[in-house]
């Protein structure tokens, strides 16, 4: 009995103040190793008289638990200290830069096309395409632009042959022709794409982008046209209030024709689209000319509707405050990085156009 107490006291004092892991482990094996002092005591149990056996075993267990838990907590403590010391040594300058990563950007024109498609998608338009190289019939004649129209001058159109049969389309309107020839009415399409005119100065580029719109059905009138564009403009510029003005104009392939202006003002050298008292022309439109419908075998007595053409680059410039049209196509790394969009910024109906 007193042997056990003695053993306990001896080791408690031995352990006191010890914090070195190997010393503690040494003591641990002295006690609990195969021939450790505690282990030896346990072997004794069998030799002890029956009357004292129970008490001895119980006392021994208590001592064992006490010593064991002390040792364990000492080990824990020592291990912690050691780990912490190691971690402290591993400390690095976390303000050093991360591993490099690169992220590309989507061109503002592509982003704008996706925005436009997303808006028109909501009101039932689907996207059509046409080739960049067109024949003169689809680009002009079918669109009620007779042979002696000024738009046919060499000055405006890039031709691919001397006979002027093949050319780079000067607008996206030939997609109207292709669509109507291919299918049967009703039609409700937009057609974004590249267009070309041999014009090059500060505000004109030999290549630019347009989106064509065409809606032909039985009773589509100028009110529908106005409603459609009104909806588009508000959605696109993401403003509730915007002034819009329809004013008469002339295009050979629409009659009546209109040009649409929106209100704006200048603030700190930047165009603010909305309710300002300046007007800015953004698109041309009108009711599809009966001659055009006739050319594509659509019965003009039964079907009618509107078409519009919007300059995409111009819209992008307005919305994103880009001043120079030429910069769109100049491929300056700084410009592309600045005005480009993150590829994850996909405009959609449910997310909206902006992040």
């Amino acid at each position: 009995m007193s042997d056990l107490k003695k053993l306990k006291d001896e080791f408690l004092s031995k352990l006191r103040g010890k914090s070195n892991l190997s010393e503690i482990n040494q003591i641990k094996s002295e006690l609990f190793g195969k021939n450790g002092l505690i282990s030896t005591q346990f072997k004794k149990i069998g030799t002890i008289a029956e009357s004292e056996k129970k008490k001895f075993a119980s006392d021994l267990n208590i001592i064992k638990d006490e010593l064991q838990s002390l040792i364990n907590s000492k080990i824990n403590e020592a291990e912690n200290t050691e780990i912490n010391k190691k971690l402290e040594q591993e400390r690095i300058d976390i303000t050093l830069p991360e591993r490099s990563f690169v992220r590309g950007k989507i061109h503002p024109v592509s982003q704008t096309i996706d925005e436009i498609s997303s808006i028109f998608s909501e009101i039932g338009f689907s996207v059509e395409e046409g080739p960049d190289v067109e024949n003169e019939y689809n680009n002009f004649t079918a669109l009620n632009t007779p042979e002696n129209h000024p738009a046919r001058d060499m000055h405006d159109t890039f031709y691919l042959d001397e006979k002027k049969q093949n050319l780079l389309r000067t607008h996206t309107s030939p997609v109207q022709i292709r669509t109507m020839i291919k299918d049967k009415p009703p039609f409700k399409i937009i057609a974004p794409g590249r267009t070309y005119r041999s014009d090059s100065d500060q505000t004109h580029a030999p290549m630019f982008h347009q989106v064509e719109g065409l809606h032909i059905d039985k009773d589509i009138n100028m009110g529908h046209l106005k409603g459609c564009l009104n909806y588009f403009i508000k959605e696109f510029f993401e403003v509730d209030k915007i002034k819009m003005r329809f004013r008469p104009s002339h295009f050979p392939f629409t009659e009546p024709s209109a040009e649409v202006d929106i209100g704006y003002e200048m603030k700190d050298g930047k165009i603010i689209v909305g309710e300002g008292d300046q007007w800015l022309e953004i698109l041309g439109c009108g009711m599809v000319h009966p001659n055009v419908l006739k050319n594509v075998n659509v019965d003009a007595a039964k079907y009618q509707g509107y078409a519009f053409g919007i300059g995409i680059d111009r819209l992008a410039m307005l919305k994103y405050g880009i001043n120079d049209l030429r910069a769109f196509f100049d491929c300056d790394y700084r410009w592309l990085s600045h005005f480009g969009f993150d590829p994850l910024d996909v405009p959609s109906n449910y997310r909206g156009l902006s992040r």
Binding site: N135, Y159, K226, G227, S249
Partner: protein, 803 residues
């Protein structure tokens, strides 16, 4: 088309203001392009008094004046006018003012060594009169007004309004046409202009003949002779009128013809009748005929151009430009005045062939009122007689065709059907009559006679536009669109386009958009076996062909950006390349280029050049993201000649090798040398969207049943020695062909050439995962598979397992 409100008032009675006018013009489709305010600068001109005059030390005729310009401010001004004297009250123009006559801006300037701060003005310099002798002398009563602006508001001239007239409206190339449109829309009342016809008993003695031949561009030729005129400078009112719309006065006769043209859009031509040889013949030109036009250029004519000629030869090109030989001058005594109708097509063809653009051509090609011939002659001849004196002959009119007014039957219901709003029949008739139509009720329809000055009105829909335009487009009610979709917005290939675009961008490439055309010298490097497609009329020689590859532009722009100091660049473009000059001869390609290094100047990673396996990863990953199964991909090394022949490859979506999905590789070093592009490395790729098979499956269908194996798997490594020209892909194929169900995750983890390996051979180490979905494989099973793998690789590739 330049107009002033003042001139409009010759035709229009109105109480409305200029501000209303501008709005009205735009609302009826006569778009106001700009308004040139003549008043802004004019306020700078001040009433001033000369308080001292000294002689200029270095010039006899010049004086140095001290000028009181008000507010106790005195300026030194150098002046050459004889009448500049002490005490004179006159008009002072400060530096920065623009002198109306010369349109020059004043600056502080040294005149013969003496600095002059501004200028004292003559009447002519201010466009007030032609008086250029001396400076303006103002009444001494104005002493109190020294320092005030000389031009009071009322003296300001009407603003110059520039209208953009659409090509369908030749009638609005005359002030009267504009006035007519305005009056129809409620802006004032059109003043009746019934010109009194002159009565003459004198015969027009110059014989005129229009030849009847094929393609004759002139159908009517009206003329009259005015004899014994004295051509002079125009009177002030006429000069001012022309100046007010930016035209330069020349001589009375020329000014009068210009005035009539601007006023009623009736071009006229005045010949010096004495210079005409016997008679006028309007005919088609013969090939090679020549004449010198009023622009002092000699023109050589092709066959079939409409010319006005006499017995000697060509006098002028009808409706385009007159000739020097018969032009009027100040000493011209007898005039032949021409007023004719020329066919727009003929005018356009001739002008285009000769590359000539004149005011008359612009008007005739849009269509001149064929019934304005007499009116024009009458108006001009009377003015000439008034200003230059002389005798007017009878009007002679030769014609080979008679113009007939056209009629349209118009269904009034059509208006609302198209415009979406309603106006009464009465309103319709009022608008149309104001525009010059004659209206007659004809059962339910309106029978309309189209005015001769409106060649653009051809059918009912044109009437709808007239009615809508004049009523005002603001009456069109907005009908909100219905949010209903019957067809998907994008089809499969459009979706793929958008997906690839964003997928490539997400790998670090900036999207560029470049021209569809390019420089042929660049294109040549990348056209491979494709046909060059020339643009007949390129905008510059550097953009003379359609691109056969997007690389030509991207390489050019990479080079520009390298010049800007960027070293590591990745850009891409998605767009068309062209294979022929017919519609549809084009393919859509995603093309990317990457230059420079990875991890340049990185503290943590070792820098290295971009290489072919970077672009290979970008392409493969993009294709996988787009939904293609990389297990099926087949890659070989046959690529176009603009790639490095040993470091480039092409990808097929499957072993069937049907169509090329993509190329990737290093750009051929020779090209970089030729275009002087200096970078550490340049690699690129092209993905051919049109060659990618579109899946018919929906995403739902694309997900197969989920299954996996929980039986123990084991990994085995093999090292083979194989000839250098054997592709790694062949080894992988040989392994996987053993048993696709058991083998997975076949990876090459080492490629080695050199010591211990025979020359022309290489060692390739492959790791394979072996797992069954039915049982745990025991050593015997595994051994069997091992042997099959070795056997398959050795048989199929000639490799030997390394012991």
């Amino acid at each position: 088309m330049k107009i002033t409100f003042d001139w409009l008032k010759d035709h229009l009675k109105t109480n409305l203001k200029e501000k209303d006018l501008l709005e009205h013009l735009t609302n009826i489709g006569l778009e106001v392009e700009s308004v040139e305010s003549l008043s802004a600068d004019v306020e700078l001109f001040k009433i001033a008094k000369i308080i001292k005059v000294e002689k200029h030390p270095n010039a006899d005729r010049l004086k140095i004046c001290d000028v009181n310009i008000g507010n106790k401010d005195v300026k030194k001004v150098v002046c050459g006018a004889d009448n500049a004297r002490q005490g004179l009250i006159t008009v002072y123009a400060p530096p920065n003012a623009t002198i109306p006559k010369t349109e020059t801006k004043l600056t502080v300037a040294k005149i013969r060594g003496v600095t002059s701060y501004g200028m004292l003005c003559s009447e002519s310099e201010l466009n007030l009169s032609d008086e250029s002798e001396g400076i303006i002398e103002l009444s001494s009563k104005l002493e109190k007004k020294i320092g005030e602006s000389y031009f009071s508001k009322s003296k300001l001239k009407s603003n110059l309004i520039d209208l953009s007239i659409t090509p369908n409206r030749p009638d609005c190339l005359g002030i009267r046409g504009i006035a007519r449109d305005l009056s129809a829309s409620g802006f004032g009342k059109l003043i009746d202009q019934k010109e009194k016809k002159f009565n003459s008993k004198i015969k027009q003695t110059l014989k005129v003949k229009i030849t009847k031949e094929k393609g004759q561009g002139c159908s009517v030729f009206g003329s009259c002779l005015i004899t014994n005129v004295k051509n002079t400078e125009s009177p002030k009112w006429l000069k001012n009128k022309l100046i007010s719309v930016g035209q330069k006065p020349i001589s009375a006769i020329v000014d009068i013809t210009n005035y009539v043209m601007l006023d009623i859009n009736r071009p006229l031509h005045a010949y010096d009748a004495d210079k005409i040889e016997k008679r006028i013949i309007v005919r088609n030109s013969k090939s090679g005929e020549e004449f010198t036009a009023l622009d002092n250029k000699k023109y050589k004519l092709e066959k079939g151009m409409c010319v006005i000629s006499d017995n000697k030869g060509v006098l002028g090109l009808g409706g385009i430009i007159g000739g020097i030989r018969s032009s009027t001058e100040f000493d011209t005594k007898n005039i032949l005045l021409e007023s004719a109708y020329f066919d727009p097509r003929s005018i356009r063809n001739t002008a285009k062939k000769l590359n000539l653009d004149t005011d008359a051509k612009f008007r005739f090609e849009r269509g001149i009122d064929p019934l304005s011939i007499e009116q024009g002659l009458n108006k001009a001849a009377k003015l000439i007689k008034e200003i230059c004196g002389g005798e007017i002959s009878k009007i002679d009119i030769q014609k080979i065709e008679t113009f007939k007014l056209k009629n349209i039957s118009f269904k009034p219901d059509l208006f609302e059907k198209i415009s979406g709003f309603k106006i009464s029949l009465q309103e319709m008739v009022k608008i149309l009559e104001d525009l010059g139509f004659k209206c007659k009720n004809e059962k339910k329809n309106l029978r309309l006679t189209i005015p001769s000055w409106r060649p653009d009105i051809l059918q009912e829909i044109d009437i709808v536009e007239e009615l809508a335009r004049i009523s005002g487009y603001n009456k069109i009610k907005i009908i909100d669109p219905i949010k209903k979709r019957k067809k998907p917005t994008l089809n499969k290939s459009q979706r793929l386009f958008h997906f690839l675009q964003r997928s490539v961008a997400s790998k670090g490439y900036l999207e560029a958009i470049t021209w569809s055309f390019t420089d042929s010298s660049y294109n040549n490097h990348f056209k491979d076996s494709k046909k060059e497609i020339k643009i007949v009329n390129p905008i510059s020689s550097e953009l003379d062909v359609l691109r056969n590859s997007i690389f030509s532009n991207l390489v050019m722009y990479i080079n520009k950006n390298l010049d800007r100091g960027f070293k590591d660049l990745s850009i891409f473009e998605i767009g068309p390349i062209f294979t022929g000059s017919n519609p549809g001869d084009q393919n859509t390609v995603v093309c990317g280029l990457s230059a420079g290094k990875k991890s340049r100047l990185s503290w943590i990673e070792k820098e290295r050049n971009v290489d072919v396996f970077d672009v290979k990863r970008d392409v493969i990953q993009t294709l996988i993201e787009a939904g293609y199964n990389s297990d099926q991909f087949f890659i070989d090394n046959k690529t176009p000649n603009y790639y490095h022949p040993g470091k480039s490859g092409r990808i097929f979506l499957n072993r069937g090798k049907d169509q090329i999905a993509a190329y990737f590789g290093e750009i051929h070093p020779n090209i970089l040398k030729k275009i002087d592009l200096k970078t550490d490395a340049l690699v690129g790729f092209e993905i051919f969207i049109d060659n990618l098979k579109l899946s018919n499956k929906t995403l739902n269908d694309q997900k197969t049943k989920f299954s996996f194996s929980d039986y123990q798997k084991s990994e085995r490594d093999f090292a083979f020695v194989v000839n250098k020209d054997v592709n790694a892909q062949d080894l992988i194929n040989a392994v996987s062909s053993v048993d696709q169900d058991l083998l997975s995750n076949i990876k090459i983890f080492d490629v080695y050439e050199g010591d211990n390996i025979p020359e022309n051979q290489k060692s390739i180490a492959i790791s394979v995962t072996i797992q069954s979905s039915e049982k745990t494989l025991n050593e015997t099973d595994l051994e069997k598979i091992n042997n099959s793998i070795i056997q398959s690789v050795e048989n199929k590739t000639g490799a030997k397992i390394r012991s």
